[in-house]
């Protein structure tokens, strides 16, 4: 059964130096608050997994917390490049960053295989694509019926997954709605999981039986953090803060500006600050 705790406890209980961690979300419901708490607690030597590393991975990389990133698209969504990620890859600043790069199809299949308890995923992919040359974890199997060569990648099995969701009920079951992305798979593929939610409701009696619900007993900890996805959005709660994504491009472009911003907005901030940040975005959703 999921235990409902503070965000500080949830992160401290579940994340450790050297862990392989996924902070997942596909544009929608990015677990910003959880990532910021991880930053405050100062972990190091992390291997971060994500289909679409964005601002939060840029931040952790920029602060030197990350040894390796496993990913398929490292961009600031709707804006452009990730400047701290680039600085790490191109200039080894603040230190060298190991990368394991896949396509979205590969990562999606790898999470799915992780949730399904399989050692690998097979799919039709990477045909003619050069990633297969630079990533030794892109291999192949031959279909024993048709002889077709299919791509194979190892399944994703994080030590811990962090996601943000709209709500939990009192038993700790979690509802994800809208663009559900890879969140359920990321939780089920992980050894431990932390879900931050906008609110806790009595029950899900008004929700469809086929909704994307992650049962309580598959989740380790839940923490209530209203606004916890900001500047990403939570459908039904608040809109995406597009301006913050644009702003990030400027902040991350300069090492010192980045440091200063992180100190003020993350290191000296609290989970409670997120609620204020989304106030002006609630009207539009």
């Amino acid at each position: 059964m999921a235990k409902i705790v503070t965000l500080k406890e949830a992160v401290a209980n579940n994340l450790h130096d050297g862990d392989t961690a996924a902070f997942e979300g596909f544009t929608h419901l990015i677990p910003h608050a959880a990532a910021h708490e991880a930053i405050r607690q100062g972990f190091k030597d992390l291997t971060l997994i994500r289909m679409t590393p964005d601002g939060i991975y840029d931040q952790m990389i920029g602060l030197g917390m990350v040894r390796k990133v496993i990913f398929s698209y490292a961009g600031n969504p709707g804006v452009g490049l990730l400047r701290r990620f680039r600085d790490a890859v191109e200039n080894h600043y603040p230190h060298k960053l190991e990368i394991e790069e896949h396509s979205h199809a590969a990562m999606a299949n790898a999470y799915e295989a992780g949730a399904a308890g399989l050692p690998c995923a097979i799919f039709r992919g990477y045909l003619g694509a050069e990633l297969a040359r630079v990533n030794p974890n892109i291999r192949s199997v031959t279909c024993p019926f048709t002889g077709e060569k299919l791509a194979a990648v190892p399944s994703v099995r994080p030590d811990v997954t962090f996601i943000h969701a709209q709500k939990a009920n009192k038993k700790g079951d979690v509802l994800v709605e809208g663009i559900i992305g890879i969140q359920k798979e990321a939780v089920l593929a992980a050894k431990r999981s932390v879900v931050t939610v906008e609110e806790i409701v009595d029950d899900f009696d008004d929700v469809s039986v086929n909704a994307c619900i992650i049962p309580s007993w598959t989740i380790t900890n839940i923490a209530v953090v209203p606004g916890g996805a900001h500047p990403s959005y939570a459908q039904g709660y608040y809109a995406r803060d597009n301006a913050s994504y644009l702003e990030w491009d400027v902040i991350a472009a300069d090492r010192e500006v980045f440091r200063t911003w992180m100190q003020e907005h993350v290191l000296d901030a609290t989970p409670e600050d997120f609620a204020k940040r989304v106030e002006h975005l609630r009207a539009s959703k």
Binding site: F26, T27, H28, M51, T52, F71, S72, Y73, A74, G75, P77, G78, V79, G80, L81, L82, R86, V89, E90, E101, S103, H104, A105, A108, N109, Y111, E112, F123, R124, G125, Y126, L127, G128, A129, E130, L131, V134, E148, K149, G178, I179, I180, G181, I182, K184, E185, C212, Y233, Q235, A239, R240, D241, N242, A243, S244, Y245, L246, E247, L281, S284
Partner: protein
């Protein structure tokens, strides 16, 4: 020419014209998103638009800033998980047209969005392939949109993120790929189609007022022109109005959530 228009506008509108009511499009952000929605709002009301975030049959009233905007989900027929999107919908062979952009493109439609320079010591680390490697092989055909420049249209790309026609000819077939690959390249200056045999992109139409020299100047390889080079029909009033209204609605909607002074860096065309 009844109305003036920008190179970006005619690129978007030419791409929109290439789409039909029965198409199922895998849409990226930027010009493709604008083109697909202009098509939907003009001659192809029943076109199916799919964004890789899981939204199927979406009909946004404003253009999304990211492929995962709430608007895409709210107006969709259904929104599925990302693994389902890539397994049942893309790999399942249900998408007729995939749109791709490029940081670097060669004459055979091979695309680089991974690195400029060496993979292990890149000069510029780009975002990477995302969905592109499998969009390139799983969609019925691929349309590429690109603003021409000698930096982006190069003789040899630094990294093959997405396979087009490889070295040309039957290279796709030799790799066991059964889809058509790039069949159309729409730039801000011209419309290109692959030569039926060599698969090299060939200019089949110039946008109004564009010269062959201009096309060559902004392209890093020696440009081939078709025997007959048409002139792209200028955007008509409906097309232009539709595109501009869409952009105006988009700007108005997105302004609402922006703080004062934030620089507008939308990549939506």
């Amino acid at each position: 020419m009844s109305q003036s228009f920008t190179p970006n506008e005619i690129m978007t509108i030419a791409a929109a014209r290439a789409l039909s009511n029965s198409d199922v499009c895998f849409v990226g952000i930027g010009a493709p998103s604008a083109a697909c929605n202009v098509a939907r709002l003009t001659h192809a009301p029943d076109i199916t638009l799919i964004y890789e975030s899981g939204t199927i049959g979406t009909a946004p009233t404003v253009l999304p800033l990211s492929i995962g905007d709430g608007e895409l989900c709210e107006t969709s027929v259904t929104t599925v998980s990302v693994p389902e999107m890539f397994r049942y919908w893309l790999q399942g062979g249900r998408v007729t047209i995939g749109f791709l952009g490029a940081a670097q493109l060669d004459k055979f439609g091979n695309i680089n969005t991974t690195v400029i320079g060496d993979y292990d010591k890149p000069k510029t680390r780009l975002p990477g392939g995302g969905g592109a490697p499998e969009i390139a092989s799983s969609c019925g055909e691929i349309y590429i949109t690109l603003a021409q420049s000698t930096r982006s249209m190069v003789e040899k790309i630094d990294f093959v993120t997405s396979f087009g026609h490889g070295e040309g000819g039957d290279h796709r077939a030799r790799l066991g790929i059964t889809t058509k690959g790039p069949t159309l390249l729409i730039t801000d200056l011209a419309i290109w189609k692959p030569d039926p045999v060599t698969k090299e992109f060939t200019v089949v139409a110039l946008h109004p007022g564009v010269t062959r020299e201009k096309v060559q100047e902004t392209c890093g390889w020696k440009v081939k022109f078709a025997e007959t080079v048409e002139v792209t029909p200028a955007p008509d009033a409906l097309e232009l109005t539709t595109l501009r209204d869409l952009k105006a609605r988009t700007d108005a909607a997105h302004k609402g959530t922006e703080q004062a002074g934030a620089k507008r860096g939308s990549k939506d065309g």
